[in-house]
Symmetry: C2
Subunit: 178 residues, 2 copies
């Protein structure tokens, strides 16, 4: 009855174990990398770098979560973001094409994939809502409330770049509202 057991089985059967040290890069913006990465231990950050050099953090990926560049996979284009280890991390790597093939053959697996994609879409909609409707201060408060397990594993600067403000601005927000 546990969810996603077919996906988990696929990962353990076909996934390739990989280790990364703190600060080590998994892939870079522009690379062609059609894999999904499942985090067994550790912490990753996915981030964009603009043409002017500004870094913006798309997401943090902790144990039990997976990530990969949909753009690279679906559009056969380069990755739209970079992926780096914030802590020493154990990953399971799987070619996305393999997942697609297997899901086309196995209905239970396809159902697991639907669950994963639904969860992803909802997470992204949530974030869209926060940028659209909330102030930087409100986004900060929500982050504290919803990801308390992350706050002592990331720097304040990275939290700022995840929230869409500069590190200086986040320092001011903290002072302002405790």
């Amino acid at each position: 009855m546990n969810t996603d057991n077919h996906l988990a089985k696929l990962l353990t059967m076909y996934g390739q174990q990989q280790s990364f040290q703190r600060h080590e890069s998994i892939f870079c913006q522009g690379d062609d990398d059609g894999h999904i990465y499942f985090v067994q231990t550790g912490l990753l950050k996915a981030y964009y770098v603009s043409s002017e050099g500004k870094e913006s953090i798309k997401s943090f990926v902790a144990e039990g979560n997976m990530i990969g560049s949909l753009n690279s996979v679906v559009n056969q284009a380069g990755c739209s973001f970079s992926l780096v280890a914030l802590e020493a991390s154990q990953l399971l790597r799987l070619p996305f094409s393999l997942l697609v093939d297997k899901a086309a053959q196995s209905h239970p697996l396809a159902n697991d994939v639907i669950q994963q994609l639904l969860a992803l879409a909802m997470k992204k909609e949530q974030r869209e809502f926060e940028f659209l409707s909330l102030s930087a201060e409100q986004r900060y408060q929500r982050f504290l409330a919803q990801a308390p397990q992350l706050i002592d594993r990331i720097t304040q600067s990275d939290m700022a770049r995840y929230l869409g403000v500069t590190p200086v601005a986040l320092s001011r927000i903290k002072k302002r509202c405790g």
Copy 2:
């Protein structure tokens, strides 16, 4: 070979035809509405209203696209946004639970659902990127470039609220950059 034909078939077989006039509401934030709506003709807007009364537009939904509140469906909670017709619209309405049931029974349909969810996730990631990394002016330019077919069907105020700025600010941006 055409994509999503199973989903299309399901819609025509089980979908209920509904007509809405301009300005008519399909559902409201907080309502319990577990349907997905496929737009045959017309144009919808999905929007949040904050506790202070500020309206923020989540998305415009034109012919050939579908929408529904994932939050209402997956979490059995109220809709997180409101849906209204910007033009007289013909919709096909389907209980999401029906889609879930049928997808659990039909593997080809499940594959169609995966395609839809992938496309949705990528659209939302794109929007996340724009809010995270681009200025209001850059978001405006991109909107012009990527949705030219919409600009003469929506008001400038609605475009502003979609881009995350006030109508006054968008008027200034237009003046600034042509």
